[in-house]
């Protein structure tokens, strides 16, 4: 049986007494694209933030390479985390830095020679179709370009694990497909482990090997992409079809009625 690279066991997290994660059990496998789907506000981003270390669980265990993060000393946890990258939902680009400086930041803060940085950033910008805009500031770019700059920054260090928090939010269908293709392409090329939080149904099933669905702070289903896609679970099927079963009224019926 395949061992999980990252495993969450009964993870619980509350904010001001409001439970967000209510006993999450999730396995992430090495070299695969795992996508977490679920309605807005179910705690998907909170879950990602636990994996990267921006949040710490109130209860439960997070296993990194089979070792509980709580039992890891600072340097082991740091050694694991430095191979991770995170692409934020709102990009989190530095508005006072140019595109070049933003993408170069993870390298320039380390002891890497400027010439090497210039070469690697130039290559990364070229690969993501961002050549010629390296002296512009994020505020001068379109939403799609900003997403690509954020992706370039996330991938510049050749991370082993990349976390994407809704990487296609606010993009048109063409750009959305292009971002999905880029993730799939780079994952196949570099072999990193990707964890994506997304609402892009059904596109996400085509690029993911593993899919999990979060509902009311719990993973209600996880497995291979096709297994989840064709699951008989009514919650999963209603989400895939864009239906709101809690009100007993489907969104497509409303549209039809209108």
């Amino acid at each position: 049986m395949e061992t999980a690279l990252i495993q969450m066991i009964d993870i619980k997290k509350s904010f001001n007494g409001n439970p967000v994660l209510n006993g999450v059990n999730l396995s992430i496998f090495q070299g695969q694209i795992t996508t977490i789907i679920g309605k807005s506000g179910t705690g998907k981003s909170v879950l990602l933030r636990h994996i990267i270390g921006l949040l710490h669980q109130d209860a439960g265990e997070l296993l990194l390479n089979g070792v509980s993060s709580g039992r890891m000393n600072h340097s082991s946890r740091h050694a694991f985390q430095k191979h991770m990258a995170y692409m934020f939902q709102d990009n989190a680009l530095f508005d006072f830095l140019t595109v070049f400086e933003n993408v170069a930041l993870p390298l320039s803060e380390k002891r890497i020679k400027p010439l090497v940085i210039k070469e690697r950033v130039g290559q990364q910008l070229f690969l993501l179709g961002l050549e010629g805009i390296d002296h512009q500031y994020p505020s001068q770019l379109s939403g799609g370009m900003r997403k690509r700059v954020a992706m370039a920054r996330a991938l510049i260090t050749n991370p082993k694990i990349v976390l994407f928090d809704e990487p296609t939010t606010g993009l048109d269908p063409i750009r959305k497909n292009s971002v999905h293709s880029m993730i799939a392409h780079y994952q196949a090329q570099f072999g990193f482990t990707a964890i994506i939080v997304s609402h892009d149904i059904p596109d996400i099933f085509d690029i993911s090997q593993h899919v999990a669905m979060l509902d009311k702070g719990k993973i209600i289903i996880q497995g291979k992409s096709d297994e989840v896609r064709h699951s008989q679970n009514p919650l999963v099927q209603s989400f895939i079809r864009g239906e709101d079963i809690s009100s007993g009224e489907t969104t497509h019926r409303i549209r039809k009625h209108q």
Binding site: L54, A92, E109
Partner: protein, 262 residues
């Protein structure tokens, strides 16, 4: 009665936690100053922002402060026939007290508020979280260069304030009133001792720690303010609190240093 006690207890715990967080923040910022590679470029950028860009406002404030001191001092001293001591009064007041205090308050208003707002925006737009995910120490990136630049800039700005302030006293005492140029300058030179200058510089360095630490801390933790305000409101609260706290702490620190050095 019980809810009141719970409120007092929770408020006390929150403030003690905040104080602890502030101490850890300052300690980490100081420690990161000595971690290689040194951030010379960023420190110089901040010296330009905190120091060079504050010069105009410091010159203007110092000139009018010196002129007012000259004017008020003259009309007070003349009643005792001691108007010749105007130079001493202006110089000592500026070097030991007003120079460091007003410089720190003006830099808080100009650069401190901007630092709190900038870090607050970085916090709410997840840029500080992004630094963490890129394996960059956020305290090193945001706070340490500003702290170093503050320690360099404050004494220099204070020295500028003192010189311009003494010139302001000269303008109102010598040019507008009837003090002789030689008397004024002689009293200035004779009354100042190195201990007065040291005291002024000690205050400037302490105030730099106070101002930069409080302003950066408030911005850095803009999401953790007591009234739970988030977003733009959180940044606005952080900026206001930073300026008010820094100004009060400047005056408190001034009293403590004066108490031990006078």
């Amino acid at each position: 009665m019980k809810p009141l006690l719970i409120g007092i207890g929770a408020g006390t715990i929150h403030r003690i936690e905040g104080l602890g967080r502030l101490c850890i923040f300052l300690f980490n910022g100081l420690k990161q100053l000595f971690v290689f590679p040194l951030q010379a470029g960023k420190i110089l950028d901040q010296v330009r922002f905190i120091g060079a860009k504050s010069m105009f406002v410091i010159v203007l404030t110092a000139l009018f402060t010196g002129m007012v001191l000259g004017l008020q001092g003259y009309h007070t001293l003349v009643q005792f026939g001691s108007e010749a001591a105007l130079g001493s009064a202006v110089a000592l007041t500026l070097i030991r007290e007003l120079g460091p205090v007003l410089t720190a308050i003006m830099v808080t208003a100009r650069a401190g508020s901007a630092m709190a707002a900038e870090l607050g925006v970085m916090r709410i737009s997840e840029q500080i979280d992004a630094l963490y995910t890129m394996d960059i120490n956020p305290v090193r990136f945001t706070f340490s260069p500003r702290l170093a630049a503050g320690v360099i800039s404050f004494p220099l700005l204070t020295a500028l304030f003192d010189v311009i302030g003494i010139f302001g006293g000269y303008v109102s005492g010598v040019l507008f009133l009837d003090i002789s140029k030689a008397t004024y300058m002689d009293k200035v030179i004779r009354s100042i001792h190195m201990s007065d200058i040291y005291e002024g510089f000690i205050k400037a360095v302490v105030f730099s720690f106070v101002v930069i630490t409080i302003c950066c801390f408030r911005g850095y933790y803009a999401h953790m303010n007591t009234d739970q305000a988030k977003g733009a409101k959180g940044v606005s609260n952080a900026t206001t609190t930073a300026v008010v706290n820094a100004c009060i702490m400047i005056l408190v620190a001034d009293y403590i240093i004066t108490y031990f050095t006078v």
